[in-house]
């Protein structure tokens, strides 16, 4: 019996995931997506305990204060860890691409992808410096991605 990750079930999951790949904001996350459309990576900071946090929510996950502010992050980050995904949906075949855990300069980590660089273990070096960029997915949604920070922008 040939049972592998290429079963019809796995393919169904991959296709379902790829169909849902354009973010649809909620009221609590709208400011984040307004930010990316304006070319900013917006995070939140607690006005009481100064905790910086992501993903968006209208209170501080460290101290439960509802007094929180939105601010534009530097967009600077380092590469904490990653995978290079070779599993692609049948209806949207594409080259293997990185899925990354990115360590933001302000503290939070986020999942993203690294662009403008070869998608290989040799090119993608842990702790490399990164800078946010924005990829347009639809009329209103711009996705934050990261590229090597060459020092010029």
């Amino acid at each position: 019996m040939n049972i592998s990750t290429q079963s019809s079930g796995a393919k169904r999951v991959a296709e379902e995931l790829s169909r849902n790949a354009i973010p649809v904001p909620t009221p609590e996350t709208q400011h984040f997506w307004d930010g990316t459309a304006a070319g900013e990576l917006r995070l939140q900071r607690c006005s009481l305990c100064a905790q910086v946090f992501f993903p968006p929510r209208p209170f501080c996950p460290a101290c439960a204060s509802r007094s929180v502010e939105v601010f534009a992050a530097s967009g600077r980050a380092t590469l904490y860890s990653y995978t290079i995904n070779h599993v692609q949906p049948r209806d949207q075949p594409q080259a293997p691409q990185s899925m990354a855990l990115v360590q933001l300069e302000e503290g939070p980590r986020m999942i993203s992808t690294i662009t403008d660089i070869e998608q290989t273990p040799a090119a993608l070096v842990l702790d490399m410096k990164l800078k946010v960029a924005f990829r347009q997915l639809s009329e209103s949604i711009w996705l934050p991605v990261f590229k090597p920070d060459t020092g010029f922008s």
């Binding site: 049972i3 592998s4 599993v87 996705l143």
Partner: protein
């Protein structure tokens, strides 16, 4: 004190590829098998638990009139959490006999529930799915490179997990993959999500299983040698958006929390455990488990497995059914962990560990964002 015992346990009749049953049908099939195993009937059951499917629907489908229900759905470990909850409910007198069932058509995809993985507008849909997330490997594997970087684990050590588990699988009639493999073959298998290769990834199968729990003082009169829940824990660290948000993905605090709860409630130490089941969705997750549970120090899990301590003949037999890599994995693997622990404690496993008396079962949920830990034994303390 009233204690709970597992008095019935069975998997689905079919195994691996079962295209003629839906997820609900598989849960029902396993339930009927578990009742038969226990020598009990539908009328004996007054509590029902299942994950992702509705416990109310399953109860009604089987003709059960429940007065206790649990639909906890926190990933593949949900069914371990159900055992913990059901035992507490039985001990508190809320119900007397609970059916915990799992059915999943992971391969044939018949009647599958919505997992809410990328529900429109969910945080995962907004912040995970857009990055080419096409399944488990890319997301589950995210912390591995950091771990290799920090602790010096080699790809050969990661591959050795798959090799050792294949050795266990060879002794299991129902294992899907049984032929031996080598580290070189694992490292030559196709890349799925670097650094995870095909032979480091779990199966995708149809199937499931069910358990029947009742008061330990009733168990003596029933058909099977009872298996007792000696201790348990459960914990979560984030949600699918996931391991990115766990404070330290290499030393996740929630895993240790679940482990400490389990060992404290069982009143035993790590050295008392003589059989281990740790959820292997991918080759690295038993390493995270060995370390998080405190069997080895952080960073030592890879060398520990490579040195054959968990292999046949080793001091700490682990994943003796061959694991999710070789035996079965329908999407949620937790029920299969418990079935093998119970077989070992009954002395009826295919790859029987001599004198197995205390088995620890540890499951993951949501790509390493939640977990549950059970300590099972074949004698009361």
């Amino acid at each position: 004190m009233v204690r709970a015992a597992i008095v019935g346990a069975a998997e689905t009749t079919g195994h691996g590829r079962i295209p003629d049953l839906s997820a609900l049908g598989l849960a029902a099939d396993a339930s009927l098998n578990a009742l038969l195993d226990a020598g009990l009937t539908i009328a004996d059951i007054d509590g029902v638990a299942t994950g992702y499917l509705s416990p109310a629907e399953l109860a009604w489908y089987l003709g059960i009139e429940p007065s206790w229900l649990d639909g906890t759905s926190i990933g593949g470990c949900s069914w371990l959490a159900h055992v913990r909850h059901a035992a507490a409910a039985i001990e508190a007198g809320l119900c007397s006999t609970v059916l915990i069932a799992h059915g999943e058509s992971g391969r044939s995809f018949q009647g599958m529930p919505n997992y809410n993985m990328v529900e429109r507008q969910s945080l995962s849909q907004q912040f995970d799915a857009p990055y080419g997330w096409t399944g488990g490997a890319a997301m589950f594997g995210l912390p591995i490179l950091r771990y290799m970087h920090e602790f010096g684990m080699t790809e050969e050590q990661l591959a050795s997990v798959a090799v050792v588990q294949r050795e266990w699988a060879a002794g299991n009639e129902r294992a899907i993959h049984k032929h031996p493999i080598t580290v070189a073959e694992v490292l030559a298998s196709p890349m799925v999500a670097y650094p995870l290769r095909r032979l480091m990834c779990c199966l995708v199968t149809d199937g499931g299983g069910a358990l029947v729990l009742t008061r330990a003082d009733r168990a003596d009169h029933l058909r099977q040698r009872p298996v007792f829940l000696l201790g348990s824990g459960e914990a979560s660290g984030s949600y699918l958006t996931g391991i990115a948000q766990v404070d330290d993905p290499l030393r996740p605090g929630f895993v240790r929390r679940s482990a400490e709860l389990a060992f404290l409630s069982a009143g035993i130490g790590r050295e008392d455990v003589n059989h281990l089941m740790i959820y292997d969705a991918f080759a690295h997750t038993p390493i995270w488990g060995l370390e998080g549970l405190g069997f080895v120090e952080y960073g030592e899990g890879g060398p520990f497995i490579e040195a054959r301590h968990t292999a046949p003949g080793g001091a700490l037999p682990m994943n003796t059914n061959g694991g999710g890599l070789n035996y079965a994995h329908s999407g949620s693997y937790g029920m299969f962990l418990m079935q093998e622990s119970i077989r070992q404690l009954r002395g009826t496993a295919d790859a029987q560990v001599p004198n197995a008396s205390i088995s620890l079962c540890h499951g993951w949920g949501g790509y390493l964002s939640a977990c549950a830990t059970l300590i099972l034994g074949n004698q009361l303390p």
